[in-house]
């Protein structure tokens, strides 16, 4: 069966609507529907991954540059898989620990969040990308303050304000893009921007930087990372674990725009994205590592770990070569899972038996993953990135290696702070350990099958940097 490309967006949206209509006060029903929806998304992902890609679809059968198109290429399908997998694990954790009992409407918001994420990864239209950004943000506003409390609300207000300013910038950027090119369809934009006369280069460069700023806000890239630590540290920990994939939306969008619309060979924009992203990534990594050293408590440390992962990721992505992109994508999968695991453990630590040996072992394994130490996949990811950014080895190597050391020190200190205590009698509920163990198994699998994985990602990255099939697929819809 060939699934319609719109189903990964409609399924969570419909699930959320049904929950709100018939299950407002029925938590058991909401949990069941949530599980069904996430299982369905996983099934859809498998079905999509088995198709020949890229595939495109015109919504409402409007011809391509005028109507909205959905496009599934290798990168979209990879991100859909990451969302479905992480959502499933986080949902298991939520069910096991009862985070959804803290306040109303957890599951509908969770589903709307998935809808926004899937939509952002599938859309082939720049304005629809804005709309799906808003969908996932609105859901995230609700999730951030889930459970309430003064600190959470204050952090939530700041988070909303930052992102509203970001959305405004996004609209201005899109306005400039439309004024210059007369289109917002990404494939059409790629052709129009490449053929832009020299006189319009200034405007399109402004638009490109504005869009990059928006993606930097989403990805928490320095200097636009200030909203992240408080927001992630104050949100309920399972929500923060799901948000580990949300910062990757910014990275995805920057990669998509930087390879499809503003590739390094474009006369109008040149290597603009690469020139801006490399220093930003390096500084982000430094800020994140220093933040981890200075952070109080596991939640805030995990939040800064998310910032270091963004920094490392952008160092790789700023290469804009197939080699660097495939290294970055490998690290993207790894870091999303590792940071999510750290947040889930932050949740366990606050519960009964949180200081027990079992949790300490999980923390130790996760810390190895987050810091990028052997034997877990973080080490391979960082190694691939160091290899791929050999062109700037003089800056990239010292920064990546020094920050890795700082990360290890910070996590070692946090670990001794949390667990170097006399043994306690209480044990954690076995069910609450399932989700972190699942994520760690995924990291182990990512390490063991690193060879086939990097082969797949290399093919995927090659397609990203030679987007002729993508463009042809969208053009065929005319």
């Amino acid at each position: 069966m060939i699934p319609d490309l719109v189903t990964p967006i409609v399924l969570p949206a419909a699930t959320a609507a049904v929950m709100l209509l018939i299950g407002r006060n029925n938590l058991a029903l909401q949990r069941g529907l949530s599980l069904v929806s996430v299982l369905g998304l996983t099934g859809l992902w498998v079905a999509l991954a088995l198709q020949t890609l890229p595939r495109a679809e015109a919504l409402g059968n409007w011809p391509a540059p005028f109507g909205i198109v959905l496009v599934a290429d290798g990168l979209s399908v990879l991100m859909l898989g990451l969302v479905a997998g992480l959502a499933g694990i986080v949902l298991l954790h939520v069910l096991a620990t009862g985070t959804d009992r803290l306040g109303a409407s957890f599951h509908p918001l969770f589903q709307f969040q998935l809808m926004g994420l899937n939509g952002a990864f599938l859309t082939g239209d720049a304005f629809t990308l804005f709309v799906f950004f808003e969908v996932l943000l609105i859901a995230s506003y609700g999730l951030v303050v889930h459970g309430g409390g003064a600190a959470r609300l204050l952090a939530g207000v700041r988070y909303v304000v930052t992102n509203l300013v970001g959305s405004t910038l996004f609209l201005i950027g899109l306005g400039v893009v439309y004024a210059v090119t007369g289109t917002l369809n990404m494939a059409d934009l790629a052709a129009k921007v490449a053929a832009l006369p020299a006189g319009d280069a200034g405007l399109i460069r402004v638009a490109a930087v504005m869009l990059l700023l928006v993606f930097a806000v989403k990805a928490a890239l320095v200097p636009l990372q200030v909203w992240l630590p408080a927001t992630y540290a104050e949100s309920p920990a399972p929500v923060a674990a799901l948000f580990a994939v949300m910062t990757k939306v910014g990275a995805y969008a920057a990669l998509r725009f930087g390879t499809l619309i503003f590739p390094p060979g474009t006369p109008a924009t040149g290597t603009l994205y690469a020139d801006l992203l490399l220093p930003a990534g390096l500084v982000t990594l430094g800020v994140g590592a220093v933040g981890m050293l200075g952070a109080q408590g596991i939640n805030r440390t995990a939040a800064y770990a998310a910032i270091t992962s963004t920094g490392t990721l952008f160092i790789a992505l700023s290469g804009f070569t197939p080699l660097a992109t495939s290294a970055g994508l490998y690290y993207l999968i790894h870091s999303t899972l590792a940071v999510a695991a750290l947040f889930l453990i932050a949740d366990l630590v606050t519960r009964a038996g949180g200081r027990s040996g079992a949790v300490a072992v999980l923390f130790f394994a996760t810390a190895i993953g987050v810091a990028g130490m052997p034997p877990l996949s973080g080490f391979l990811g960082k190694l691939l990135i160091l290899q791929a950014r050999w062109d700037f080895a003089a800056v990239v190597w010292p920064v990546v290696l020094t920050t890795s050391l700082l990360t290890i020190v910070a996590l070692a200190r946090l670990g001794s702070d949390l667990f170097w205590k006399s043994a306690t009698a209480d044990r954690p509920a076995t069910a609450s350990l399932i989700a972190p163990v699942l994520i760690l198994s995924a990291l182990v699998a990512l390490t063991i099958w690193a060879g086939p994985m990097t082969d797949t990602l290399t093919l995927l990255a090659r397609d990203l940097h030679a987007p002729a099939p993508y463009l042809a697929t969208v053009k065929a819809l005319q």
């Binding site: 304005f127 808003e134 207000v157 304000v161 509203l164 609209l171 306005g175 439309y178 004024a179």
Partner: protein, 109 residues
């Protein structure tokens, strides 16, 4: 006409940026509203200013204005309206809980 619209957008943006940088949530919400007005006008102008022209097909029309920016503005208005409502509710909640409408991050570190 172009100068007038450009100045209006600039003025709204300036007011919006100033108010958004104020430390009180009420000012920030007003500032974000100004910013969204500015952005809506800007999007509208991105399809070129064509006064007195129709956006829809009509046999007697002498020329058309670009309908797409109007659709974009409509979407942007709906979204910014909803966002403002969410922000007002959250700001109100935070104010009632903490008796403070500060949007500074001074107590979080």
């Amino acid at each position: 006409m172009e100068a007038l619209v450009a100045m209006a957008i600039g003025l709204l943006t300036a007011a919006g940026v100033y108010l958004t940088l104020r430390p009180r949530s009420f000012d920030v919400i007003l500032g974000l509203s100004f910013l969204s007005y500015a952005v809506n006008l800007f999007l509208f102008a991105s399809g070129r200013l064509a006064p007195g022209k129709l956006p829809i097909i009509d046999p007697g029309a002498s020329g058309y204005t670009d309908p797409l920016p109007q659709a974009l503005v409509l979407t942007a208005i709906v979204i910014s309206f909803g966002m403002t409502a969410v922000l007002v509710m959250m700001g109100l909640g935070a104010y009632l809980r903490t008796q403070s409408d500060s949007t500074d991050d001074k107590d979080a570190e």
